[in-house]
């Protein structure tokens, strides 16, 4: 059992803002080592109090209700919890929330510009680069990081770039085609 399940139940608190994020935890619970973390999340700077043992994934899903990043293996084996940390893809289940302090985090919810989808998101729709869709946010963010580094990847580059993500439905061929199509459409922009 990973330690990741830690603090999903504790009341989240956004400092400097009025709203509370759905307090779900016991107020009488003994709390060790809480810390305030300040980060830029999907372009917005925010501070929130977390338990030191909480993973970034559990803070995103449990406190902030950003449920695009998925908890599939909870131990760094499948990539479904992938987010971008300062532009690099990371498994948010293996990262403590306190490690994101002072850094920039992008989740799938922050990839589109308003109503305009990111070229990768559009390509995944056009090419059917998913089936059940559960692993899709992780694949898209891993692919976004790949295209940042290598704007015109070969098929082998794409496969290697996505080698840390598992699609149990097995639609890799179309996922890779989606990334290839997005690279081409970006090239045209």
């Amino acid at each position: 059992m990973g330690g990741g399940a830690a603090g999903a139940g504790l009341a989240g608190r956004l400092l400097g803002r009025e709203e509370n994020f759905l307090p779900a935890g016991p107020e009488d619970m003994e709390v060790e080592a809480r810390r305030v973390v300040t980060l830029t999340l999907n372009g917005k700077r925010m501070s929130l109090e977390v338990e030191s043992r909480e993973t970034l994934l559990d803070v995103l899903r449990g406190r902030l209700r950003l449920t695009g990043a998925k908890r599939v293996c909870n131990r760094g084996e499948c990539g479904s919890c992938t987010v971008l940390l300062d532009g690099k893809p990371v498994y948010s289940c293996l990262l403590l929330a306190v490690q994101a302090d002072g850094r920039e985090v992008v989740t799938i919810e922050g990839l589109a510009q308003g109503d305009k989808l990111h070229p990768l998101q559009q390509a995944f729709i056009d090419e059917d680069g998913y089936q059940c869709g559960f692993c899709t946010p992780g694949f898209i963010l891993a692919a976004a990081a790949l295209l940042q580094e290598n704007p015109s990847p070969s098929l082998d580059d794409i496969k290697a770039g996505l080698g840390g993500n598992i699609c149990r439905c097995g639609n890799y061929q179309k996922i890779c085609a989606s990334v290839g199509a997005a690279a081409k459409s970006k090239g045209r922009d």
Binding site: G9, V72, Q131, T136
Partner: protein, 752 residues
Amino acid sequence: MSKPFIVEDPNLEYLEAARPEGRPQDAPAARPAPAEDFKVIGRRTPRIDGAKIVTGRARYTHDLHFDGLLHAKILRSPHAAAEVLSIDLSSALAYPGVKAALKLREGRVRWAGEQVAAVAATSEAAAEEALALVKVDYKVLPHVVDDLEAGRPDAPLVADQANLQPFNAFDRGEIDKGFAEAEVIIERAYRTNWEVHQPAETHASIAKWDGRVLTVWDSTQAVHSVRDALARVLQIPAADVRVVKHYMGGGFGSKLGLNDHTVVAARLAKETGRPVKITLTRQENSFCVGYRPSTRFTVRIGAKKDGTITALHMKNLNCGGVGRGDRCSEPFVDVYRIPHLKIEESSVFVNACGSRATRAPGHTQATLALEGAMEELAAALKMDPLQLRRKNYTAKSQGDTSLPYSLKRLEDCYKAGAEAIGWGRRNKAPGAGSGRYRRGMGMASQIWPGAGVPGTLAELRIHPDGTIEVECGTQDIGCGTRTHIAVVAAETLGFEPRDIVVKIGDSDYPWAPISGGSLTTPSVAPAIRDAALKAVDYLKGLASPKLGAPPEDLALGGKRVFVKAAPEKAVEWKELMKSIRRIAYFHGERAGHPSDTFAFQTFGAHFAEVEVDTRTGKIRVLKHVAAHDIGRVVNRQTAESQVIGGVTQGLSAALFEEKLMDPETGAMVNPNYHDYKVATALDVPEIVPLFIDVPDERLNNLGVKGLGEPPRIPSSAAVANAVFNALGVHVGEIPMTPPRVLAALKRKEAGR
């Protein structure tokens, strides 16, 4: 809750539902599939809910939250066999945040992972910590997890009956006579191991009571089945239970029917008066919710020198833990003309969780054995393996002894597939190559019912503003069912799929079968078509006086009703609906099909090319062609994805996947994605999906069949046969791990 410890074959319901003869035939006759060219059906339609998925807005059961939500965790037996003498919940109940705890099992536990107790708390962490405070007194008993060990007379009994039980038998003709007629006889063994579904979204349920009404959000393939089973187990009226599933992260059979933990969530929610969520961990998902049962086949097959099969004798030892496993007879009985056939299957019980239906239960294992034997027989006859299959081709079911197939385009699959892979490039004699890296090609045929379930219901509504809404109690398990429904409604009414509002995944909606067994499209699409055709008649009736033309001279398109001969004479759809000032309802039903006069099956053929490193035993699949006869294709884009997924899963099972048990502790030793290997992007070759795309006009009003299981059935077998063609020896067991490949090469060297 107590239940019989032997899990009744979970595939029975699955397969019975898949068989047309298991369902009522009294529904009205199907309207024939129209001959005109469709504009939307058959073309590539992107999913109508794609934007939700790619932006993270699609809400899965894992993602749902409610005010006051409690999280529950389940304490599971660490012992494969034990007597639970006592359970003490007092310390757990006293732990901060804990709101309720339940004893789930006193008496025998028969597998490591069986539910013993549960705790609900205000956080997952608190629930998990409290679980450690539950005191359980176990009397540990001897166990057995190996199928061959369990079959020995001195093995610990898993049940109160012998571990080894006869399971399935079938006879056709006279087996001795058949072998006496044979000029070539071979006998081979094939083995498949435990393959775990491992869906990305682990099983999860949220239960919430509102007075006497229970609502459950469940990661399930079957909202209606879960509703009915929950009502039965909790002894409450089915009408007071609602099961909802909007999005689901994969199931592959492991989410058919009610799960034990869902009942626990409902009981804890009742006791606390708060909503309760249970999300299984990856570890629990690995050993508590089923897997594909293992098999040990012996296949003896005899043929004339010209390839005419005279006899086949199949024996199989099935192992599905405390469950009965899969019947694997059907492909043997049906695919080829085998006049003298004998099937003898038995099950052996071991101390492991019961197996569950896994994408194409029985057929997948059987196809590895049957098609392996075909490939090896062809080699013994020095015959092209494709030619051997053609030589024993059938036009009627049950190996040419029963009803004629309504439509069988397997020969077209052979032709298209062989051409796409370049079948002429294969080793004419298996193992003919030389050097460290050997290439080979293999193939396998596929059969699966996929006819759908008569009586499936849907409702189509047109609002006064012209909005079209379709409701059906089916569920999208990743195949694109929402989009298929929109495609059929849009085609029929002259709209675009994105204009249709589709509501599914709720047991309050009209009845539809489980999403499993390739049932969904051939059940649901005809019901939608039926409702939409009624709407067409209604709209033409409304438009007729306005256009001054009889209804039969009218057509629908571009959101208008117009006169066929003079399309400029038209009335806007919106104007028509505005005039009636109420919602118009259209009831759709999937009609019966003539299963007393015709057999309905899907067919397919896969062709694989591999390269084997004879020094390391590592196999690389280079190309995989999958040709399928599934009637009319509804959405080419999602159909391709289904095939690519089925091939990838088959490749993964053929090369990597195996649930490993520790005989000493009786526990699974690889309950995660790291040690239980599944294929990644780096492992898959170019996959070529091909569709014959000919409607089966007798089956339903669209001529559509199912596609869920077909691409999974021959995929592992084709890869195994390609390895045989490369090496000249069949590995005989999946997964074909490097040690097994090297052992097969040693066998070949030793001439065994």
